[in-house]
Symmetry: D2
Subunit: 457 residues, 4 copies
């Protein structure tokens, strides 16, 4: 078993644990777990000798196989299950010719491959859930800790209104909550055995197929679907679409952090560590390595999701080409999502903020962000249209002349006639014009807590 | 209101009802419904005069607006809500200058656009549910009616084993059931208002924002999210991913039908009607028009889903470019899905089968599909390896020499020594070797019935 | 002819001229141009009466047809050419029953649709070439004008080294040059007639098909392909992939501008105009509307390109579903590209720069960007490793303590022992450390000039 | 150097030679080739000592490095060049501290990575060209050999008109020709060095950068671009779009073959070989393994192309996330294309045809495919409308009653009044109604010959 699918870039783009799940060994072990459970189920029902099942199960360990040989035969066979089953039969036959006859009894190669895949997906979903729980926890922390930390709220990449960092993090948190919910909802559709025989009828097992399937599922702790889903791929493709949504939300976090980390903004920073985000030539560099990896995943996964959706209209009882297109694409989605998630976890857990710089940046807008507040206060007094155009002109002056909105307005009789300087000052205070930022943090926290309880329940 | 988004090809690719939902008029009306409900909510809370709300609501009908003018101003404004709100204010001001001040009070243009979109999506989900209920019913009918109708089960585009047409349809049905389930599960995440003001804090409404949001949602019969989701797009993108899975499953139905309808197969036919599927020059043509339209949708939607996923990492409180990329892409997904669904409904409801030809095609395989059955019967008698190679050779002879598997085997002493001709004949009878085809039809039907009840509940 | 495909958002996402090319009228006129030219060609060869050709050509104008009726019949026919040809025949028959027999003589509906598409694509390529020439010119201007304008060069969204704005624009320009080259190279593959009859053999014209094709192509000023390309779609899909590359390059320009236009950077600005990029509530807003539209196009086109590539493996002599998937996708690519291009043109032509702010931002880095320059100077004196670590520490101090790199280094004997303060000062001067920025501007300009000449030649 | 990127499925989906190019070793060697050539260039210009260059070049072999360690450090560094260069420096320093100072002198990590990639792409383009030349040759053979072999031409998956197999192969050939042309045209844009230093100015080399770049390019036998293309990615993404078109055309071949190989059609077969396309349980199976692998590639590549296009709008002088998204996606496109191409080559070179079955299938249409021919003959005699409806009815009768079109028509006085039975018989002879099939084969062959000569020239 010397084939090894780890590469130079795997570490950057996928978590170690997920690579264990989706390496060749994992793929092969998934198929072997199916074969072992099948043999046990058939032995339990007396369809094959108990001794044969024992023998078969004995060899159902990936380390018993030379993966290069399987890989080579796969080119001709068109899928890896056929040569794997042949190799398993040969191993068993070496000990017990009789037992070898019962390897893979009644099943088709896709039964082994798909059930093996489902076992890998179950492990993956477990890892995602654990990492998401951690990430959610870290985000809850951010929301709580920075619910009063002022910074510029930005829209269209331009300053809009003051917000709090807690509110920003609450948005991130809420999306993570919904992703957890979706992954949980998908489980009962995904985590089922594939068992239909060559064309989905289980004909070779006669009427015993249902019983075998039931025990097989029990052995593997998977659900029993109504019928085989050899060419109905929505069950597994849903994992990809759901992870696509998750990684889109992680990409949003990374986008925000990389923008906030710009030199000219400098409000938030990825963790620093020796060898992290440096440059081969520039000594001052502190690159957002985590954000880069997450954004790379958010750029790559949509194309893979599209591939899997495109592959869905598979022909007849088992398809040609479409099924094959899934074999590397679906694992790739899981791997990339795992990498994005672990980078997000590291970045969020160790995120450092500069609240002073946030305030300074806010101050650099010289109050123009509060034009809305002033307009609202003046509207009942001057009429809305007049108020709006007066404030708009004042904002322009403030920006062009480098003065504060307060100063510009305080110099206008139309304004001071209606508002005292103290009132005007208060209207130009960002920390006052935060609306429901705090309440929304609360609501996001309790909404998430509900989801988190549901996930664990 | 003379802009009209129907085009030459709309009829082929989208249902009429869905085009009504997603035409320009629908988009504008969605935003206006938001503005009317907002005004009513604010009036109910005394934030704006009741008379103003009444006036505003009066003009919140799409037919009050010249869409060309809105379209023109959209180019500069960067979104259609800004000029629409300006036009609404102007209309109201024409009657009541005071009231005009309260148009869109406290909201941002994205609040109107997103809530309007959600209203369109709710209408769309309603249409999908109704059409899926019909399609499910028609498929249940097929499963029941043809559960004993034999045909070739095909894998890798090659004959594999006999199955029944009911089993094939049961596979189609089960996927439709899962799609209904997913669409149902998504509802509570999708069907919520968008209401956050310029940067998500609702600052301009002070502490009254929560109450306004509550009434706004009640008025529009939508849910209230924990916080604004201006740059958290998973809620609406989930509609696209879910429809992507649905259309993948519809594409699978279309693929099967178009293959079964080939001249050389001729087992199943799309409905015939005057002008349907003819050719400009070939008088004998009967083209699978429905399948073509469905497969076109299944080819187009994955790219749109990828676009929407790609657009998710939006910047800060409201994004740049990503949000804009959604405006036509998400409606397009709904439109294409509606077209695929109505074609599927028409094709399935009027599908005609030729069970005689199915039997004839099965017969043309001269029993080689039953090699597995014979191998299983011979294995305990001859050993599996010998049985397999004996039958494999017999299959080759049968194919090459144009004889039946029965004839080839009946001429071999090795076989007749162990099996009587009657036993052999029975083994070579496709109608006997159907395994659990019938049970699986039952299971698919009851599984679907559960889903269908849930959908209506 | 009342169908009209312009919508609320068309103006934002597509140029007016391109919408004229790809509206329903344009599609229909393209097919009619084919029919008219076909009739003329066949009359010239004496295959049909000259009078019939004249009659037919007379009605080959889109305004003669009620597009709603064509649209309606398209649903059943499965393509718009069949009902259009039927309607054309009916119109001709109204005047001359005999002539009507010769409408569409020898051709298939796909011949009309594909040749019509090619005519639309030719018009599109003409528009692209003109707009690209303008954009190229505007970019040349930027390169020339700002070749000495210093600003921060940024990598990984972090400051790296000083560059010039001319160099940045030179990068934009060079990509535009390559796109022009590619579009030019594709022309001879794309701009050919489609003419093969029902299955590509032109059987209904006997041996005259080659002559008819030759004249048809001459009439339409298109090339003659070796054989029909009904199910070989690379010719037209290449237009999409090439535009995909172009819009990727435009997206890069938009990304840069939107980032440079951030409040905290403020180095470059999209044009201001009344109603442009404002907000419904925030008086100070100046949103990068052009960048938003370009980035939206750069987000949407890749999915459409993928759709077209996915649709390529079409069945046999003319495909099912794949071809249909092209009908709206390929025009959409052209429309979005046209919109991106005209926004880019507007933004680039009217771009305003703030060179003072660029210098100020550069100054805000307090010389740490020049760490590389100092390291290089110290390396031969101290050894590279020591020089690197000394400068790295100095950069950290400078950043943390808010001092300039010069001040930090000037205080270190290790440095001043080897370098005079004047030397050190020069090393810390950004305007000195620009390498080949100017030469590269020159090279980009002359490279582009070569391409531009080629395009016009 | 124990990392190894070959996996269980690599053999099925990628050619061995291409895996050699794009394995980790290949990636590392590409970067090292850059470093060695850079050192030599700088030594030639006297910028670094000649002895240092020699030392450095000595270690620029992938086998000198422990790839696991590089992989590990990549996670923190954010790209593999940084730790590779550090390791190279350490190795050199082990021998000669002085020389180590000159490793990677003046370059940035992206210079090494991108130039290394270009070297890999050059090798890839060489392999593609060789394989395409073979495939083209095999297709020319098919065209020549089967230019008179009749079969059903099929459109919309329905029989249309008789064609020849040569014509079908000519369509395949012509697309391959265009792909060769495109790959050739892209070369001068792709095959250039990347050399710009940290921000594209080559500042650390002062004015010597141009000379260094010139020699570097000469050493590597690559072109010199006008300026660095660190964040202008169209050069390399064009390789992906061009391969996307190629694999779309290969997918079309595979689609056709898999459809023609259906049991009920059985006109064409993939090669048979022991272990090829068998089943784990069905002894009669002969699965189209080559077609499956090609179609899988044609399903997967569009998503990867979309990813690369999406990644193009990279930020400023060197991007964040977008560049990272390329690192595995572009090699994956080359690998999948290589696999598709070698499967296509194998399948086409060993394709077996059953011309007798082709004739039999044609005969099974009982002449209805020749309805067009009869209609054309009757039109001048009966008027076109009457002729068309008469033949349409006759086709329906023929299909429904299982009679031949000849028999149906021969029984109608309206027909026999105008046509003799001999004339009618000739009209119903498929081999007569082939139009220009043969001429088009000739034209395709000479067109391709021109391209092939150009490729070699």
């Amino acid at each position: 078993m010397t084939l090894d699918s780890h590469t130079l870039l795997d570490g950057l783009f996928a978590s170690r644990a997920m690579r264990e799940v989706f390496c060749d060994r994992g793929r092969v072990q998934g198929m072997l777990d199916f074969e072992a459970a099948l043999a046990r189920a058939e032995a339990e029902l007396g369809l094959i000798p108990a001794a044969a099942a024992t023998r078969i199960a004995l060899y159902c360990r990936a380390e018993c196989f030379q993966l290069e040989l399987i890989a080579e035969a796969t080119v001709r066979a068109g899928n890896p299950a056929i040569p794997l089953i042949a190799a398993l039969s040969a191993l068993v036959a070496g000990q017990d010719e009789q037992a070898a006859r019962f390897v893979h009894f009644g099943a088709t190669s896709q039964d082994a491959m798909d059930t093996g895949l489902v076992l890998q997906l179950r492990a993956a979903l477990g890892l995602f859930d654990a990492d998401l729980a951690h990430l959610g926890g870290a985000l809850e922390e951010l929301v709580r800790k920075f619910r009063h930390t002022l910074l510029i709220g930005r829209t269209w990449l331009q300053p809009a209104l003051p917000i709090t960092f807690g509110l920003k993090a609450a948005g991130w948190l809420s999306a993570i909550g919904r992703s957890r919910e979706r992954l949980r909802e998908a489980r009962h559709r995904v985590l089922v055995i594939q068992f239909g025989g060559a064309a989905g009828t289980l004909a070779s097992l006669g009427q015993r197929g249902i019983d075998v399937g039931g025990i097989l599922a029990r052995e593997l702790k998977l659900g029993v679907p109504g019928l085989a889903w050899h060419s109905q791929r929505d069950r597994v493709v849903e994992v990809a679409t759901t992870l696509g949504l998750l990684v889109g939300s992680l990409g949003k976090i990374a986008r925000d952090i990389s923008l906030l980390m710009q030199w000219e903004v400098a409000e938030v920073f990825e963790p620093r560590a020796p060898g992290r985000g440096g440059s081969s030539t520039l000594p001052h560099k502190h690159n957002p390595v985590g954000a880069a990896a997450i954004l790379a995943a958010a750029t790559r996964i949509p194309g893979l999701v599209a591939t899997l959706l495109h592959a869905m209209p598979q022909e007849h009882e088992r398809g040609l080409g479409g099924w094959h297109a899934e074999w590397e694409s679906l694992p790739e989605v899981c791997l990339l999502a795992s990498g994005a998630l672990s980078h997000a976890l590291e970045v969020i857990e160790q995120l450092s903020l500069d609240p002073q710089r946030m305030r300074a940046n806010l101050a650099s807008t010289r109050g123009v962000l509060l034009g809305e507040a002033v307009t609202l206060a003046l509207s009942p007094l001057l009429g809305r249209a007049l108020a709006h155009s007066l404030v708009e002109r004042a904002c322009c002056s403030a920006i062009e002349e480098g003065r504060s909105l307060f100063d510009v307005l305080a110099a206008q009789q139309e304004v001071t006639h209606h508002l005292s300087l103290a009132e005007l000052d208060r209207l130009c205070d960002a920390s006052v014009y935060l609306g429901l930022a705090e309440e929304m943090c609360e609501r996001a926290l309790s909404e998430y807590a509900r989801v988190a309880r549901g996930s664990e329940g």
